[in-house]
């Protein structure tokens, strides 16, 4: 089984229960969710869910079609990691005492592009955005200092394609206008 990482971007109507419907499809196929992020999109009323999964190319196509079938889902895109621009964000809570040795703070800020959000006599809170490996690198660096808490967000991703969601939405509306039946609008 040649599994690889896929990022599934799901644009949907903002409707309660969408996440549940999507996870049902993934759990049936025993696909583990590596990360999941929900947010608003650039189009008002449209929500975007970004899900990272490890699976085979064949399987990801099958589940994407099943996700596309959900009534409130507008459009689903699936990408390999090299096809998208993506970031994750992590927060680290570290013992202040441990950070005070040598030029560690300097390295964290300069080499790892991290930010210090809060300084407390007992601990500091550090933030870093980047890819998973970069976030893990910083974690390894901080571990000897005593990491009290560590949390990483799900992936957020932007696609490289030129055609944007609103273009698809316009196409959907146009397709409807060409329908033979008269559309009685709700007013």
């Amino acid at each position: 089984m040649n599994t690889q990482e896929f990022t599934i971007s799901i644009f949907s109507e903002d409707h309660i229960g969408i996440t549940n419907q999507i996870t049902i499809i993934l759990t049936r196929r025993q696909i583990n969710i590596e990360s999941i992020t929900a947010s608003e999109s650039a189009v008002k009323g449209v929500q975007i869910l970004t899900i990272v999964v490890m699976t085979t190319p064949d399987m990801v196509q099958k589940v994407v079609k099943q996700i596309q079938k959900i009534v409130e889902v507008l459009k689903v895109f699936v990408h390999t990691s090299d096809e998208i621009i993506y970031q994750e964000l992590a927060l680290y809570k570290v013992r202040t005492k441990g950070l005070m040795s040598g030029n560690l703070i300097d390295r964290i800020v300069r080499d790892h592009n991290a930010r210090i959000l809060e300084v407390h006599p007992e601990f500091m809170v550090i933030e870093r955005t980047g890819h998973k490996t970069q976030i893990n690198d910083l974690l390894h660096l901080l571990e000897p200092c005593g990491v009290l808490q560590f949390v990483r967000s799900g992936r957020v991703a932007i696609t490289r394609q030129v055609k944007e969601l609103h273009a698809y939405l316009e196409e959907m509306d146009q397709a409807n206008q060409q329908r033979p039946d008269d559309f009685d609008s709700y007013n």
Binding site: N20, R28, K62, K65, K69, D184, Y186
Partner: protein, 580 residues
């Protein structure tokens, strides 16, 4: 009680629209959608709707079943024979959960249905209130769409969406859960049918180039085979299928749910596909050089071992649900659209041809199957009564002009194999889900949907007892269904597998049955037991000629196996005609 002032205020805000309760709005929405029959069962949370139903008796005929599962199966059968969506009501909690088997059954078999369940009052949701179940969560994996309504003014729009989604594209069940307070609340009633949702467009663009490619492949094929399924019936493409097959001279095989989409007596008909299907179409699937799959989904019961399925053939898949394309079988050409639309465009592009040599191959295998299986099964002449013989006799006595309902298991396979279908949508059966207990309530729904047609159900003694309480529904509404119990005193299909694959260890498959004639007479239904061949034909005729409902308990061969069979995990090429 509202004060006079408050009442005037409501009237001011109505813009001339009627102000009614949520409960009435549900019924009005159904009337607007052309519904006239509802199957259901009342309970606490849905009482406002049932109360209003009394005022709508002229327009909405409610059938009270004896269990919610029965209501769901009856409504599904009603939908299958009328082409209209099946409507089903149930209360919250156990009422709603009792529907689940029926909903799942309709989902797997793509039947349009609107389930309306009641929910506890909205401020109790989430508190484990009396008769509260999260039916939205529970039904999510088995509905095409579901939604909860907590405000009366959402009722018309949500129900309009429900009907649009259930009936369009690949049809399926939807569930609308409505809180008791939303039923009691008032709203200004306006109803607009829904035919557009931004995120759901069931009308697919026709890709003419794909259809042209399909025509080229069809025109060049030497051994083409049409595999047609339920999609043909759903899109009402039976005539187009007939024209297409006759013009191209291509033999046709049907899936279980596709049965009756093509006349059984047609010279191009080669039989029924799958685990207990006919010998020739199963075997020759692997000889064909082109498979034209129309409105079918390559279910595992049809394909057997996928690694050895149709390896000599290129495959054209005409299918409305994109998620079914390349799901089980990788195809060479996909046409993601409605079967009828595609066939209409395809017919002018294909050449008139005949494939006599290829069809002869089917007929040679038919002869073998006929001698080894069909004749001994349908015309045994001596020994115990066989299932196949009962089915053949009914088929002959009714000249195929009847709606046939089955339960699940050996009885179902006998009907699929031996009934000669002549008109579309004349089989009601539980395909994908294989729900035992489907037959009896489904027969009721089929008869209510089509009262002028004879409805005959073949049900095993096991399945009959799973929903036996629906005899009460037959009694109450005088539903003139003819119920044939194919009684072998066993859960026949499971026993067959124990016989074939579990060293004949009959674990919990033998039944001690009640006297079905006594049971039926308790419900005021004429009944009779037949156990000898000499009385069989006359008893069947008597049953068919009777005016009202009838139960015929036919004692059949206790340990007969349905053959041919593709053993689980085996290839279609490994279909066996004999056992032992």
């Amino acid at each position: 009680m509202k004060t006079k002032k408050e009442k005037e205020k409501v009237a001011e805000n109505t813009n001339g629209h009627e102000v009614i309760t949520g409960a009435e709005a549900i019924l009005r929405a159904l009337v607007e959608e052309g519904v006239n029959t509802i199957f259901g069962y009342p309970g606490g949370a849905i009482m406002p709707v049932y109360d209003k139903l009394l005022d709508y008796q002229e327009k909405l005929h409610h059938i009270l079943t004896r269990h919610e599962q029965g209501a769901a199966h009856a409504a599904q059968a009603y939908a299958m024979v009328t082409g209209k969506p099946g409507i089903c009501f149930a209360t919250s909690g156990p009422g709603a959960t009792n529907l689940i088997t029926g909903i799942a059954n309709a989902y797997l078999d793509s039947v349009p249905m609107v389930f309306v369940t009641a929910q506890v009052v909205s401020n109790l949701i989430g508190t484990d209130a009396f008769q509260e179940t999260d039916i939205i969560g529970v039904s999510m994996p088995v509905t095409k769409w579901n939604a909860q309504i907590k405000k009366a003014h959402d009722i018309p729009e949500t129900l309009a969406k429900a009907f649009f989604i259930a009936c369009s594209g690949r049809p399926g069940p939807v569930l609308i859960d409505i809180t008791k307070d939303a039923q009691q609340e008032k709203l200004e009633f306006r109803y607009n049918k829904c035919n557009y949702l931004r995120s759901y467009n069931p009308t697919l663009p026709l890709r003419t180039r794909a259809i042209e490619s399909a025509a080229i492949m069809i025109n060049h094929a030497e051994k083409p085979l049409i595999l047609a399924g339920h999609g043909v019936l759903i899109s009402r493409a039976e005539n187009e299928l007939l024209q297409f097959a006759e013009k191209t001279g291509i033999p046709v095989a049907l899936t279980l749910l596709g049965l009756s989409a093509f006349p059984s007596s047609h010279r191009l008909y080669t039989g029924y596909l799958g685990m207990h299907g006919n010998y020739a179409p199963n075997l020759l699937t692997n000889e064909a050089d082109l498979i034209i799959a129309i409105g079918m989904r390559f279910d595992d019961r049809v394909t057997g071992d996928l690694k050895k399925y149709a390896k000599n053939a290129r495959i054209i898949h005409i299918e409305i649900d994109d998620a079914e394309i390349n799901k089980n079988v990788t195809v060479d050409l996909e046409i993601n659209n409605d079967a009828r639309e595609v066939l209409k465009h395809l017919i002018p592009l294909v050449h008139k041809k005949n494939h006599e040599n290829w069809i002869r191959e089917f007929r040679i295998l038919d002869k073998t199957e006929n001698e080894k299986v069909i004749k001994p099964e349908t015309m045994p002449g001596k020994g115990d009564i066989k299932m196949g013989e009962v089915v053949r006799l009914v088929s002959e006595l009714t000249a195929g002009d009847t709606i046939v309902v089955t339960d699940v298991g050996q009885n179902q396979m006998a009907v699929a194999r031996y009934f000669r279908f002549s008109s579309p949508n004349s089989l009601v059966t539980s395909g994908g889900m294989g729900t035992m207990g489907f037959g009896l309530p489904a027969a009721i729904g089929a008869k209510i949907g089509n009262p002028d047609k004879q409805v005959v159900a073949f049900i095993g003694d096991g399945g009959f007892q799973m929903t036996i309480q629906e005899l009460g529904t037959i009694l109450q509404y005088k539903v003139a269904v003819k119920l044939i119990i194919l009684n072998n005193g066993f859960l026949g299909m499971v026993r067959q597998w124990q016989d074939m694959f579990y060293y004949k260890r009959y674990a919990s498959t033998e039944l001690v049955n009640p006297d079905f004639v006594t049971i039926a007479s308790g419900y005021g239904i004429p009944a009779k037991t037949v156990s000898v061949r000499e009385e069989l034909k006359d008893s069947l005729r008597e049953m068919l000629d009777s005016k009202g409902p009838y139960v015929l308990d036919v004692r059949i061969d206790k340990e007969a196996n349905v053959l041919p069979m593709i053993e689980p995990g085996a290839s279609v090429s490994e279909v066996t005609l004999t056992y032992k």
